[in-house]
Amino acid sequence: MARKHEVLHDVVIKFAGDSGDGMQLTGTQFTNNTALLGIDLSTFPDFPAEIRAPIGTLPGVSGFQLRFSSDRIFTPGDTCDVLVAMNAAALKTNLTALKKGGKIIANTDGFDTKNLRLANYPDGENPLENGSLDNYELIKIDVTKMTREALKDFAMGMKEKDRAKNMFVLGFLYFMYSRDMETTIHFLNDKFGKKPEIAESNIKALKAGYNYGDTTETFTTTYSVEKAKMEPGSYRSIMGNQAITYGLIAASQKSGLPLFLGSYPITPASDILHELAKYKNFGVRTFQAEDEIAAITSAIGAAYGGALGITTTSGPGMALKSEAMGLAVMLEIPLIICNIQRGGPSTGLPTKTEQSDLLQAYYGRNGECPMPVISASTPADCFDAAYEAVRISVQHMTPVILLSDGYIANGAEPWKFPTAEQLPPISVKFKTQLGDQEEKLQPYLRDEKLARPWAVPGTAGLEHRIGGLEKQNVTGNISYEPENHQLMVKIRQEKVDKIAEYIPLQKLDSGLSTGKILVIGWGSTYGAIKSAVAEIQAKGHAVSHAHLRYVRPFPKNLGDIIKNFETILIPEINNGQLVRIIRDVYFVDAKGYNKIMGIPISKTELVMKLEEMLST
């Protein structure tokens, strides 16, 4: 049979199945395969809320969305072209996101009576059989049966064999998109090196899926997507939490400060702990503390001793750390607090994304307690954001909050990685002896940045005591003097404000410097805003986009940029947080666009919002 071949520009595939079906692995494998071809990509893993929801149920569905394109792309896509549904629940939860006419690759075995009932389909109704999917291209495969068949010569049990189902599907998709399977074969041999039987069976299932596509007449067309036109250079694929890890290690290496991480496991931040724990060869010390408070206070202890103190957490942990953050502000020592935000309040939506800790980062501590806030906007950007957070922290002697969120933490994209030599230096000066005028150390004597000296234990002649009580300026002695307290509050604020003199000016991400609407974003809304604004600009509208890395303090020129636009729109995955701060600081009637559903804002809805604003 002669098969057609079609070259596509942009494809979104959603892999969906039960959490035990290995969809995350399938998605990551397809992603790596895509990346190595130089195709641009963006991913969005969608984890089930429950770790062990009953098999086959709606809450147990785990998804992985992958978009790949020969154009530059910035989001994992609003809707999918292809939905892989390993069972009825996976179909039900994801069908709304599938384009009309899109392809459904359904594992028929996952649509038996039991699975249909678990997915709450009415008795006797099977969506694969009742015509309800007529608007889509339905490809039915009994993946379970075919996988078992392919593995019939293997001695392993049925359960073990069924675990290779995802590889069958992956093989099938590799064929469909004209891919080479080598990356995954290599991966499997590597991963199961010590269990060759498992490696072999998975490879066998993978090849069986590929051959199934090739030999059957399941579909008449194969596809491919060409390389994207990206800036020349060397690329790799990276996820947000991984990029934070590398950014911190790189900063530790470049500054010469040994890295100490105090952390308590919490979704979706734990991967930074896991990743950093792997790099003991870089002198990285990871300490899994007994709670969030010990996590941050141990990092404060390490920083007091001259280490690069880091703590990682998410919203609820952030709340527990607030008092200790206040201590770090009073001690004026470097410390990085990474908050990988998730849906709140309280335990909230642990596996879902949200940007709702910005006001907490700004104001959520007792007393007047200003801290710089840095935000990461894409998975790869997490590297730069982490690196910059360290630079500011050690050079300005202040704790810094780094905000990321669940969306970019687990999302992946190509990263044009730097070499060690290309990274800007981070110079750190410990105080090693008394100054000319000093009889004893003046721990709060400041430099032009208003930073105090970092004098670490072990340095003879600089013995001193610091603490959380208000202290006299310069000497650091305890002081309850009214005027001194006012002075110190003002100094601590000014010190943070002054950082604006040491950060780059705000640039527009796209658009002219004057116009009708300026869209201001921060964090993970970057891709959606960028794509929506590009679409609107293409229609000839005067809309520009500015995306903030520095959320506190703001770059010095942000106010001037804002003045040149008639309207300001601030899309956020929260109930309106940056918008309040911008209104407060710049007295502008900024408008919010707020989505608080635990999922990212889509390009499509932003385009609609912008069109609505432009038409009034």
Binding site: Y304, L327, I466
Partner: protein, 342 residues
């Protein structure tokens, strides 16, 4: 505690700071401060290599009065701050000064976790059985029925037995002393310092403002011999005027015997600091001194053992990881799967 650096000879005065000591006149903290300053001068450690970390409470003012490095941190967290410091700077001599409220109430969690991890640090827990800084509420070591500002009808909390708690958390060094016995306190501070591993020293401390005389029965001349039992390694458990009484084990039960009533010292319990089972019983000797037929309160080193310290094993892992795979930032950033766009 490893001491490789030979420091110039120091005296207690070298450890005094220019800060005015702000405890209430007559507070037991004064004596403890004096003994710590005396002992530190003899340890052969340079001042710059000593760090004192405290939490919040009267006792936690301590670092301000010690001319070493120091941090007056936040309530209950001194143990956690010290853990991070010791993990990153194992060569420092790290001391934690805490109280019954700071270390056993708000910071109880960190205390037990530090003990089980066995960082080589010294915890001095000043137990005055009251909240002093906040002006007189009952603490987790206050006795039942205690009338305080927050318990007008008497406390209904059952108190902690700090040493049993420490032992339960697998502390590798557990000892008790008191503010009013400078010699014993100095000796215990020495032992605390010399133990390699987490040392837990409970110090009975009189708060003459809010809980005056809480430990009088153990500290005052008239009652001390009858009510206290000073433990010495390898020696029988003797107490009373002229050591006329002793303790022997009747099965697992400690009982008092009178030596002048025909019992000999050979029958007595011989103290063995390394015996965890005996230590369990010893820490449980915690009778109300007003109770009929009560046992005397033990002081001294209850238990000590050696177990690898957290920071040492952590360092070993770093070394091992480095020897397996030298750090190469470029390799890390590059990863395993790279594609090039021309």
């Amino acid at each position: 505690m490893s001491e490789t650096i030979t420091a110039p000879a120091l005296t207690a005065k070298d450890f005094v700071t220019d800060q005015e000591v702000r405890w209430c006149p007559g507070c037991g903290d004064y004596s403890i401060l004096a003994q710590v300053q005396k002992v530190m001068a003899t340890l052969g450690i340079a001042r710059e290599n000593i760090v004192i970390i405290s939490g919040i409470g009267c006792s936690s003012r301590f670092p301000y009065y010690m001319n070493t490095y120091g941090m007056h941190s936040i309530h209950g967290r001194a143990t956690a701050v010290a853990s991070g410091l010791k993990a990153s700077r194992p060569e420092l001599s790290v001391w934690i000064v805490t109280g019954d409220g700071d270390g056993l109430s708000i910071g109880g969690n960190h205390t037990i976790h530090l003990l089980r991890r066995n960082f080589d640090v010294n915890i001095l827990l000043f137990n005055n059985q009251i909240y002093g800084l906040t002006k007189g509420q009952y603490s987790p070591t206050s006795e039942e029925h205690k009338i305080t500002k927050s318990t007008p009808m008497g406390s209904i909390d059952h108190p902690f037995n700090p040493l049993a708690l420490a032992l339960g958390a697998d502390a590798t060094f557990v000892a008790r002393s008191m503010d009013r016995d400078p010699k014993h306190l100095q000796a215990m501070l020495q032992r605390t310092h010399h133990h390699k591993g987490a040392s837990f020293l409970e110090i009975y401390q009189n708060c003459n403002i809010f809980n005056d005389g809480a430990f009088e029965i153990f500290t005052e001349k008239g009652s001390k011999p009858q009510e206290t039992l000073f433990l010495e390694q390898g020696k029988p458990l003797l107490f009373g005027a002229g050591n006329n009484k002793g303790i022997k084990l009747d099965g697992f039960k400690p009982v008092i015997v009178h030596l002048d009533e025909g019992h000999s010292a050979d029958e007595l319990w011989i103290h063995d600091e390394e015996d965890i089972y005996k230590a369990q019983i010893l820490t449980r000797i915690f009778d109300d001194p007003k109770g009929e037929g009560h046992l005397p309160r033990p002081f001294g080193v209850f238990y000590q053992t050696n177990r690898p310290c957290y920071e040492d094993v952590m360092l070993q892992q770093l070394e091992e990881a480095k020897s397996r795979k030298p750090a190469d930032l470029n390799k890390l950033l590059k990863g395993n799967e790279v594609w090039v766009i021309n």
